[in-house]
Amino acid sequence: MGLPNPMEVADEILQVEVDALQEWFTVAARIRVLLWQGAERIADAIPVLAAGWSRPEPHAAIGRQREAGLAGRDIISRQVDAADEAVATLRQSRVLADSELSAAESAALGLGWIPPEDLLGWAIGHQALGPVAGIVGTLQQRLNDLLARNTDALNVLAMTLRSDPGDPIEQLVAPRPTTAVGSMIPVDPDPRTGAAPVGATGIDADNLSRLTADLQSTDIAVLAMALGVQQGLQEAAEQGGVAQLLVYESANSTSQGRAAISVGDVTTADNVAVFAPGVSSAPVTIAQGIAGAAGIRDESQRQAPGDRTAVVAWYGYDIPLSAIGGVPQTPLATTKNLVAALDDGAARDGGALMVDDLARFRQWAPDTARFIGMGFSMGSTTVSAAAAQGAEFDDLILLGSPGASTQVETAGDYPGMSADHVHALSYDNDPITTAETDLLAGGANIVPRFTMSDEPFGPDPANRDFGAQVIDTTSNNPDLSISVNTGAVGGFLTDALASKLAGDVGDLMIHHQESNYLSGRSLEAVAAVVNGRYSEVPIKPGR
């Protein structure tokens, strides 16, 4: 009949777990009462203390605790009220949807239809298509109206849930200078490492100790990487206030080493985004990745000022082509590193390392912290491989991805994650995201381009069949038009091919850039995912 199936909308309305929502917010309602009662008792103490201690500071401090409790209660109160409204709306919609279904069924029965015969088949056989289409169309319209009401109620609830009820109480604890990395206030960096000062209890104390030792090394590879990481820490401290060296393994003649620097404090973060870079990056150049991490953090906190976000620049895998700009290595190690760009082997191995690193990061972060895996180019293949190996991210963001690794076929294959939390952002004019390899990303001037017949990096996550949420933004850079004229006699075909190749290389250089994926509307969309604000992420059908 050319009409959508009303039962899909009906199911969306009827299967909402209203009782679970109500049950969960009874917990919040109870805490609202506790905060009110606690604040009242604190108020009782104020005049007593004022009478017993003539200086104003003690009872003023208690007054601030009371006000913080009441402010937290007000936030919870708005959330509970919005949840109650949503529960009422969702429950009413369920009843009304059921009623609409019954009315439609009665109308069809009135035409002579006898269940369980297929209604459409019956309508065709009895020349009743017109009346049946009218019944179904009316039902669809009413169900759509009910679904829209539900969405409106959930939007109101979502808005109130953007405030953290703990913020007023956390602000009571005055920021004070601390010797531990993870301080919430900007501090002068350690002159030796560039990091915020380290204390015995700092989560990265061991890593910083090793870095300090490496800075004295006479091994050029060890020293070069240490200096690069030191610079990265300085950048992170300047841009994020807090810099934490979460992973540090020294380089040597056969390894570029491993490092991860957090911009922002992981120990207090609401959101922890772990970002893996693409080919040709190396721990020695980690400082170059800090700007991107800081940009994600800044935009996330701009969108959600009440939430704290830490972004970890994770240079923790054997990044293909890293030998080009990395520390000196043996010829054999360099060759292996270059060849690693040909498939997702390095990404799969790196994914396993990321799983282990994440387990430590989770121990340091608050229980309620969300973890978001992000990667650009081969880095996206790596975080995808990590998710496939059980990293259990809350969300996954694959930027400019050559493939989601050969360890998954669809977005539904990640253990502990639903496909709705897998996001892909691939510009249509980025040749790396099509069925071609990532080689040119880092080695355009040294390795010829080629096309693989299969999928050495796994499926394209922006493909419709993969089933991810495909983010709808376009490249921030204009296309480049390149025309090559060789001047050869009869060289039309040669010129055309050369122009095509030059155009593709131009697209690669212009569109397949980490900074291009982390700016403009793309950055806004990425930050919205980091904050879990899915309703603000522009989505389009896959390729």
Binding site: E17, L21, V27, R41, G52, S54, L90, L154, L161, L172
Partner: protein, 100 residues
Amino acid sequence: MTMELVVDTALIRQAAGVLQDAASALDPGCEPVWDCPLTDESLGRSAVAREVAGAAARRVLQACAAARSLAAQVGETAASLRNSASAFDAAESSIIAPPR
């Protein structure tokens, strides 16, 4: 600059007792990690439905943690007041104690 300080340690202890009651009243007694009955698609598959499910799980736990944190802070304040009262008493007794 000098400033007269008047203290009544009995009243300070009384205030500490009231604050201790307040701390007990504030403690929600919930576990740091509670199981939220909402799953990712409990409220539907739309983006806002998933956003609400995730945020609800987080915010209620944060509310619980906030109450627990305030209870701890108020309890610490009560302890500080008791310590201060004892310190005032000790200071006073050392001043008025007869010389040996």
